[in-house]
């Protein structure tokens, strides 16, 4: 318990994030470099979609991560509601714009993929509509993060909203099975075999890991800013700023 208290202290979590950031950045850079070179250039074209299928290497990772980011936020919201952990409230606030960006990329790249293959930019089927609703939910959470009055009450409201919104996650995932849709079923599967040739799967997994690290990095940068700003009156921030006053060069990020 004492260990957790230490981990959750603003000072420690701020420093830990600072140490994690370069690691996440480098892993993201290398895996994405491999994924893009292999996926866009080396992997053979699809038997049906030709080179058009290469949009998969940005669309599927972003769509998958748009759900994962929300799942992480929902866990944080639960921790914030039940244990009243302030860091968890901050994690929800920091995560929302990141999830919104992932969802936006998934929607736009999906549209650019749908036009040549399906013959339309957009169709109101269950998968596309529920993913669009996810974007609106993210935007609503961002809206619930801007107010200043009565922070703890606002956090409670936001966390409840996040948990209710998490009901959309199974709807998005199972939409292609529960209803008839234009969107096809899932290509990737955790429990069974994936419906993609191994050579095509490798860069896809690399892109999922790479973009996952990149989104984690962006979320942690936002979380770090929130921690720093909310602790600006405390002793450790004063000390930290004073000792780092003269070496601006270190503050690259």
């Amino acid at each position: 318990m004492k260990f957790f208290k230490h981990l959750l202290s603003p000072k420690y979590s701020y420093e830990l994030i600072g140490k994690l950031m370069p690691w996440l950045g480098w892993i993201a850079a290398f895996t994405m470099l491999y994924g893009l070179v292999d996926g866009l250039f080396i992997v053979p074209p699809d038997y049906q979609q030709g080179d058009g299928f290469r949009i998969i290497y940005i669309h599927v990772p972003c769509a998958f991560l748009s759900l994962m980011i929300y799942a992480v936020m929902a866990i944080a919201a639960l921790l914030g509601l039940v244990w009243r952990i302030k860091l968890a409230d901050f994690a929800v606030i920091a995560g929302a714009p990141v999830g919104a960006m992932a969802t936006l990329i998934a929607l736009v790249t999906g549209s650019l993929w749908g036009k040549p293959m399906w013959g339309t930019w957009w169709v109101w089927d269950a998968r596309l509509t529920s993913e669009l609703i996810l974007l609106f939910i993210y935007i609503a959470i961002m809206g619930l993060s801007t107010g200043l009055a009565n922070q703890s009450q606002q956090s409670r409201l936001r966390n409840i909203f996040v948990l209710v919104g998490s009901l959309n996650l199974p709807i998005i995932h199972y939409s292609v099975y529960w209803w008839n849709t234009l969107h096809q079923g899932s290509t990737l599967s955790v429990t069974g075999p994936s419906h993609i040739a191994l050579v095509m799967l490798r860069p896809l997994l690399a892109m999922i890991i790479g973009l996952g690290c990149l989104f984690a990095l962006i979320g942690l940068m936002r979380l770090r800013n929130l921690i720093l700003w909310e602790s600006r009156k405390s002793q450790w921030v004063r000390l930290w700023v004073a000792t780092n006053k003269n070496n601006n060069k270190k503050e690259v990020l």
Binding site: P44, Q48, V82, M117, V123, I171, Q184
Partner: protein
């Protein structure tokens, strides 16, 4: 666990179950509106509205595609392996349109029960593989 925290957790769980149940009921009641298309079997059974734009999904029957010689007009039959529906269309077909391909056709039924299409969309499956393996 602390009693206060336990109570909060139970309260949240109950709330989520209730909201989830309400959402599930609403989605179940609306399931036909959420479905993107009818299948030919439903059309033959008369479940689709007449004189109203509808979408029908199925596979393009092999050997049924006939292109007009002097216009973009094309006619084909879509099937769900239970019933068939004839379609006529005047426009550009998507890249993936071919015999045996799944399609979603938007249009209106004429009195002869032929779908006069305004748009033809191709539906592909979730499989990706290089050409030589297939």
């Amino acid at each position: 666990m602390h009693t206060l925290r336990k109570r909060r957790l139970i309260w949240i769980m109950v709330m989520l179950v209730l909201v989830g149940l309400a959402a599930a009921l609403a989605l179940y009641a609306l399931r036909q509106n959420i479905d993107l298309f009818f299948v030919p079997k439903q059309i033959v059974a008369g479940e689709a509205p007449k004189n109203h734009p509808i979408r029908v999904g199925g596979w393009v029957e092999k050997g049924s595609v006939h292109h007009s010689n002097n216009s973009l007009q094309v006619s084909f039959v879509i099937t769900d392996h239970a019933s068939n529906l004839s379609v006529i269309y005047n426009g550009i077909l998507p890249d993936l349109f071919r015999e045996g391909q799944a399609v979603v056709v938007e249009g209106q039924l004429n009195p002869q029960n032929v779908l006069v299409a305004t748009q033809v969309l191709a539906k592909h499956d979730e499989n990706y593989t290089p050409p030589q393996i297939k």
